[in-house]
């Protein structure tokens, strides 16, 4: 069991307000990801849930219980940190068992739970080693194991993959997804990487400047962004934004179209332009062009295409894939 309710959480450091009223509900067993640019307050929010920071005002309830004045260790949470934060002087086994030992669990129980968690993460050969003798990926698995052993109501992950190299990041991402399925636990995960957010989350919370911009499933955010910020943040390469005036569209200040919803042709199309740069990625070809009518555009084509810089091409948006935003950046009408 592990649900979480946040009600108008505010947090200020000195005079600077980092969280400006966060309301959020997380249901039992959900995988929720906080995503946003650096400094948006996502880590502070996670620390507030953990009890490592006190909220200036507002309430945090875990499983319906108000935990504003409960110590981190008593909240029924476990946290995985970006820097692993393993105890350097303890072995892997002791690292994983410390929380239970502090809580006064029996030795046999600790051994059993540590062995089980080590089995899930294939850490058995390393139990007697110290963190310094492990690789980065192994250390992060130990940190995850330390969280599992506590059998928390809430798992909190603070950018757990940022210190890993690209290949390891994909593996560990799969591992976390697998863990979520097998443990059926509630997980809250902070990242600035929208790919991690899209691939792992049941629900993404997009934060910007201390406020929630939008909450929704990955596909909801992709297909129906609520505002310019979310539209620009989710999806890679970034959505193209075109001034409504240039398209003769008076109902929208800005019109957005994703790069994958633009088709290119040498013969003819809506917007004529010149290719500035081409990135050949094998599976995709990303073409940057400067069009006469709508300004700079990015197009993402599937497969290999033989475009080169200075080619003259015609871009055509997919009908109905346009997002239209008003002067305040809010969506007027979304695609489909």
């Amino acid at each position: 069991m592990g649900s979480l309710h946040l009600k108008s959480i505010r947090k200020a450091f000195g005079g600077h307000e980092v969280l400006k009223g966060i309301d959020l509900e997380v249901k039992d067993g959900e995988f929720v990801i906080f995503v946003g640019p650096s400094g948006c307050g996502k880590s502070t929010l996670l620390r507030t849930i953990a009890g490592l920071e006190d909220a200036t005002s507002g309430s945090v309830r875990i499983d319906g219980v108000e935990v504003g004045h409960v110590a981190p260790a008593k909240r029924g949470i476990a946290m995985v940190f970006q820097s692993y934060a393993l105890y350097p002087h303890l072995t892997v086994k002791d690292n994983m068992g410390l929380g239970l030992k502090q809580a006064g669990a029996a030795k046999a129980e600790i051994d059993e739970k540590v062995a089980k968690a080590a089995g899930m993460l294939s850490l058995e050969p390393y139990l007697a080693r110290r963190p310094a003798e492990l690789s980065g990926g192994q250390r992060q698995r130990v940190a995850i194991g330390r969280a599992i052993v506590r059998e928390p109501k809430l798992f909190l992950f603070d950018e757990p993959l940022s210190n890993l190299d690209a290949a390891l990041r994909v593996n560990t991402r799969l591992e976390i997804a697998r863990l979520h399925r097998s443990l059926k636990a509630t997980m809250i995960y902070v990242t600035h990487d929208q790919v991690e957010a899209m691939t792992l989350a049941d629900k993404i919370v997009v934060l910007n400047a201390g406020r929630i911009e939008q909450v929704g499933s990955p596909m909801e955010l992709y297909n129906r962004p609520a505002n310019l910020f979310v539209a620009g943040f989710i999806g890679s390469p970034q959505m193209n934004f075109i001034e409504g005036e240039r398209l003769g569209d008076t109902s929208a200040k800005t019109v957005g179209i994703r790069p994958e919803h633009i088709g290119l042709s040498r013969e003819g199309g809506d917007w004529k332009g010149k290719v500035v740069h081409v990135e050949h990625l094998g599976a995709d070809t990303i073409v940057y062009l400067e069009s006469d009518r709508v300004g700079p555009l990015t197009a993402r084509l599937f497969g290999e295409h033989r475009y080169a810089a200075d080619d003259i091409v015609h871009a055509t948006p997919v009908i109905g894939a346009m997002h239209r935003f008003d002067a305040d950046g809010r969506v007027v009408s979304s695609a489909q």
């Binding site: 620390r47 953990a50 009890g51 490592l52 110590a71 981190p72 260790a73 008593k74 949470i77 476990a78 946290m79 940190f81 970006q82 820097s83 692993y84 934060a85 393993l86 105890y87 350097p88 002087h89 410390l98 929380g99 502090q102 809580a103 330390r146 506590r150 603070d158």
Partner: protein
């Protein structure tokens, strides 16, 4: 790999400089120890000569061990130094932890206040300290010396240790909090082991001035049972006649405890000095 950087001339020059410095630094120590084993005449005739079978004499050591309670002085010095270091490290580290870990009003100001003692010599307050000690009946006790030396060592300890403690990862401390460690357990079990090299540095910097101090033992604890070794050795230095054999022997003996403590701390110290250079 690169021949240019390890050329013979270059290494030679570096080694020459280092050896020269070592010789200069060790010369007074050598002179003290060598002369302490010579007869009085030999000391004055050839001060730089090493003891030969003709000039060898233990008269200095015999005088030292016979006159006065030398073992007692020794003990006093060791007690004062060790207890003071222990207190300085304990209180210094605790203050440093509070300053580096907790946000509270006046944190920076408090840090500056605690570091002020680095700039103001404690000896300026000698008269007030003496009055205080007289009033609290602590004159001629080792406690008086320990209190003064603890106060003297704290500013530098707080300053150095708080800088080091800032480098200990916040995530680690937070992980400890989530695992249910108390703030004391976090301090003693997570943070202290990680700043051990800095503690050794502070211990050495604190130890040497305390061991060598003549001022406060002379003023606060000049009585026979509380004399420290530096003060005890002074009985051999007279206004008109100085017993050089005894003085040199006493000084030679006084070197050893410092040497032992230094060896204990030095492994840590070297790690402390090179910390950051080789991560």
């Amino acid at each position: 790999m690169s021949k240019a950087r390890t050329s013979l001339a270059r290494t030679g020059a570096v080694h020459f400089a280092l050896i020269a410095y070592t010789l200069i630094a060790l010369f007074p120590v050598f002179l003290t120890i060598a002369n302490s084993f010579k007869s009085r005449n030999a000391i004055f005739r050839e001060p730089l000569a090493i003891p030969t079978p003709e000039t060898f004499s233990l008269i200095g050591y015999q005088t030292v061990l016979k006159q006065g309670d030398f073992i007692g002085y020794f003990q006093n010095s060791v007690i004062v130094t060790v207890v003071s270091i222990a207190l300085v490290l304990l209180f210094g580290a605790m203050a440093a932890f509070a300053l580096s870990e907790y946000r509270f009003r006046g944190n920076t100001l408090m840090g500056l206040y605690l570091a002020l003692g680095i700039m103001i010599p404690i000896r300026l307050g000698t008269v007030a300290i003496l009055q205080g000690m007289v009033a609290s009946n602590l004159v001629n006790t080792l406690t008086a010396l320990i209190l003064v030396y603890t106060a003297q060592g704290l500013p530098l300890a707080v300053f150095i240790l708080s800088e080091f403690m800032r480098t200990v990862s916040d995530d680690l401390k937070n992980a400890g909090r989530i695992d249910g460690l108390s703030e004391y357990a976090i301090f003693f079990r997570l943070v202290l082991p990680l700043v051990r090299p800095a503690m050794a540095t502070v211990a050495v910097f604190t130890m040497i001035p305390i061991w060598n101090d003549l001022w406060f033992p002379l003023i606060l604890a000049p009585a026979e049972p509380t004399k420290t070794i530096t003060l005890g050795s002074q009985i051999f230095i007279g206004q008109f006649v100085t017993n050089w054999n005894a003085v040199l022997s006493a000084l030679s003996l006084a070197i050893f405890p410092v040497l032992v403590l230094y060896v204990i701390f030095s492994r840590q110290l070297i790690r402390g000095i090179t910390a950051g250079a080789v991560k």
